[in-house]
């Protein structure tokens, strides 16, 4: 087979793997020019030379000491390209790859595919004004500041130099006629384009300019190709994904299926220990497929990972995710409902709610004695215990844990002024500022159990005053401007005028598609004499206000408990 496709390969570590790849590529007769980093130990380089000595179409070019992000990488590519174009006149296309690249399909398939795209230069080349993937704040400044030192070796000096130049408003002149473009350094160019770039009479000017540009290996060819190419296909034929910090994702043995299905020609970067990948993809194969490369599936796989690293899973607090306030991307995992005062005015509100809505209904989760889990179980999802001491050690974590552990099932629970509030109403603040929370309050309803208990009145009066004080503060929090929960507050008097309507609204939110089941409302508790009880509190010098305007002699409750 006449070798019309040549490769240049940059290697610095894992030379044994690189040698395997070279053997695979050269087996089809394609010439390979290898650039070995000058800082690679001589013994390793010798080993590579020996291993490939029997292959006449493998050459080694002049070596440069490569430092990430600096000109040295461009110099290495130039040297390798020049040697390849000079020694192998039959080569029509040049493919740039690294020692950590792995061909996923036979070279012949790549050659055939390229033949179907004559004259096209495959190089990702994006105008720097439109680039959105650069990390670390350097974008256009890559081309307008001076970068005399490498970042990896002298991070501190690098940063100070950038700061100083920003302070002094340094702005380098970009040589006439070029517009900075950026993209992956793993390109595949035609001989004509590559020669035009390397033999451009202006090359000394461009080279001098790019020597001081930041990461020129991602911009030198990408910019100059715009001057010479006949047709640019702005994409890289090498599959490679970058994470949020601009580092390449690495492929391992468990990516085998993913890589195979991608139909891409080349992947980067491969972990050096990925035995299965090397065995599978470097096994001799016949060219059989003319499929188009489909990198999108792999794109999605890695985009998900980046999303997890950057945004995380909402509502999760764990050993490697502990967001500071307001950076949670969702304080809790799922929507939930908090009811205040409902169990007090309705008979068996919990039972009714769990019967009509498809959700888990707890009692007062934050009751002072113990957490009242649904069914009054001693333990609940995730291994939560009903012990009040454990819960009150970190009530907020108790809530977020519960909601995380029950993802997929809506949680409803009762809350009230008699419950644990955490330090400075920490718990209520947390829920009120959580967009997942639906908080519904019938204010003043705490007085109903007091009235029904019929205990010592002096004590009841003290307790009523305490609960009213707490609930007033709670309502103030719920009225704060920074709340994000769906909050509804009715006074008890207001609510009892027509309980059906608010219940219907709430129910619509909890179980939007099953409103038809809301036929029967829960029964109200017997409130005869409640008005007199409130009057008695007033007579004792207390001022019960939160229940609203409650008549001393109550009206009979709404005759109809049925919905229209």
């Amino acid at each position: 087979m006449s070798a019309r496709l040549g490769f240049i390969m940059l290697v610095h570590t894992a030379l044994d793997r690189a040698a395997d790849v070279v053997r695979f590529v050269a087996a089809t007769g394609s010439p390979v020019v290898i650039h070995v980093d000058a800082s690679t130990p001589p013994a390793q380089r010798e080993g590579l030379l020996q291993a490939l000595a029997h292959l006449p179409q493998v050459r080694f070019c002049k070596r440069h000491r490569c430092d990430w992000g600096t000109w040295s990488l461009v110099a290495a590519m130039q040297s390798a390209s020049e040697l390849l174009l000079r020694d192998f006149p039959g080569v029509e296309r040049v493919y740039a790859m690294s020692g950590a690249c792995l061909p996923l399909r036979p070279v012949a398939e790549l050659q055939a595919w390229l033949d179907r795209h004559p004259d096209a230069d495959f190089i990702e080349s994006v105008n720097v004004a439109d680039v959105n993937w650069t990390k670390g704040g350097l974008n256009e400044e890559r081309f307008t500041l001076w970068f005399p030192v490498g970042f990896k070796r002298r991070k501190w000096v690098f940063d100070r130099l950038v700061d100083a130049q920003r302070l002094l408003h340094v702005k380098r002149d970009i040589p006439d006629g070029i517009v900075p473009h950026m993209g992956s350094q793993w390109w595949c160019l035609t001989r004509e384009t590559l020669e035009a770039i390397l033999k451009d009479p202006m090359r000394p000017v461009y080279d001098r300019y790019f020597r001081q540009v930041w990461i020129p290996d991602e911009s030198y060819f990408q910019t100059l190709v715009r001057l010479h190419a006949r047709r640019i296909e702005s994409r890289s034929l090498t599959l490679g994904k970058f994470d949020h910090q601009g580092k390449p994702h690495v492929f391992y043995d468990d990516h085998l299926t993913l890589l195979r299905r991608s139909d891409c020609f080349m992947a980067r970067k491969i972990w050096r220990g990925a035995d299965r990948l090397y065995q599978h993809f470097l096994a001799p194969r016949e060219a059989a497929s003319d499929a188009e490369p489909q990198p999108s599936r792999i794109d999605r796989h890695f985009a998900r990972a980046t999303e997890q690293r950057v945004r995380g899973r909402p509502g999760l607090y764990m050993a490697s995710r502990f967001p500071v306030a307001n950076r949670e991307n969702g304080k809790t995992a799922e929507p939930y409902s908090v009811f205040q005062g409902f169990t007090e005015v309705f008979q068996d509100f919990e039972g009714w709610l769990s019967a009509v809505a498809n959700c888990r209904v707890h009692g007062h989760l934050f009751a002072p004695q113990k957490a009242q889990f649904a069914g009054r179980e001693r333990h609940f999802a995730g291994g939560l215990s009903d012990s009040a001491t454990l819960r009150d050690y970190n009530p907020r974590a108790f809530l977020t844990n519960l909601l995380w552990a029950t993802r997929g099932e809506r949680q409803c629970f009762q809350f009230g002024p008699g419950d644990t509030q955490g330090r400075k109403f920490d718990l209520l603040w947390f829920m009120a500022t959580d967009s997942n929370a639906q908080i519904s309050v019938i204010s003043g309803a705490w007085a109903v159990p007091l009235y029904r208990s019929g205990g010592d009145f002096a004590q009841l009066r003290r307790e009523a005053a305490r609960l009213q004080r707490i609930e007033s503060e709670m309502i103030e929090i719920l009225h704060a401007p920074q709340t994000r929960a769906r909050i509804r507050i009715w006074t008890m008097a207001e609510f009892l005028e027509n309980p059906a309507e608010p219940l219907h609204t709430l129910f619509d939110e909890i179980a939007p598609h099953s409103a038809a089941r809301l036929m029967r409302l829960p029964d109200l508790v017997d409130l005869t004499g409640f008005g007199s009880f409130l009057q008695e509190l007033r007579n004792q010098g207390m001022q019960p206000v939160l229940m609203g305007d409650f008549p001393t002699t109550p009206l009979p409750p709404d005759p109809s408990h049925r919905m229209k």
Partner: protein, 336 residues
Amino acid sequence: MGILTSYRLRLMRRRWKIRARLKGRELQPLAERTGQIGKNAILLFATLRNEKPRLAWFLQYYRALGVEHFLFVDNGSEDGSAEYLAGQPDASVWRAEASYKASRFGMDWMNGLLRRYGHGHWALTVDVDEFFLYPHCDTRPLRALTDWLDDAGLRSFGTLLLDVYPKGPVGDQPCLEGQNPLEIASWFDSGNYTITRNHRFRNLWIQGGPRARGYFADQPRAAPALNKVPLVKWHRSFVYVSSTHMLLPRGLNLTYDTLGGEKASGCLLHAKFLATLSDKVREEMARGQHYAESREYQAYASGIADRTDLWTKWSERFINWRQLEIMGLMSKGNWA
């Protein structure tokens, strides 16, 4: 304040380093094979006492992960642990007869060995009842993780210490020598952990799990810490401060994200709740002999005497790392 705190922590670090050097003198080499340690070898450091029944599985587990050399301090074992370890081709063993407590529960010895042999290596510091899990550990060796951490410029890797327990009282199903303890202690709590930040050392302080609800329900503050940083690219200037919960310099404790993202992290499965029954004891028992004097028997008996059953119907049975990752006990982060 900031400078003062840094200075104080620096003094503290120096103090622990000096202690490590002094306490290092208590170590008597029993098997010294540190010459075998290759340039980039992954090392494991552990202190133990009378843990013979657990050792075979422990070694097997970590060899399979890719640990290349083990460095053990044996604190006066009387069950043959030290001799057993000394017979392993890839282990170096030191004996320490001095007090475990006085060496800050072995940490001074560990710091001393880490300083001498850990410099420049990825070092895993664990107890013999802790089993390290990291994302993809069923398909990628430990070297893949450390290479990835190196590439990402990370020096430490955080974990949650996840207590695993059997179903039924601890003493009911003793673990045989060489048996995988996770076959018996295979249950865990999936979501009852509480976290606060320790601003002084910048680590997270995690508590909860079965130990908090089983033994510390009345005093949750005293419940054991479950945050651990067992895997560190060691530098001789580093020290562990308290067990492997935190290190100095404190930047090494920042193994978590505070802006909503998830860093990659793992779990240390903690098979503490397990009665270990060595073959020897089993033999003796079968013969019906009386050996109330024996320490082994006492340890075993105390395991049996503990009738606490940590299992609840909400306990989860351990399957693999993916299960823990879905439950949010560990994270792949961006290591896809």
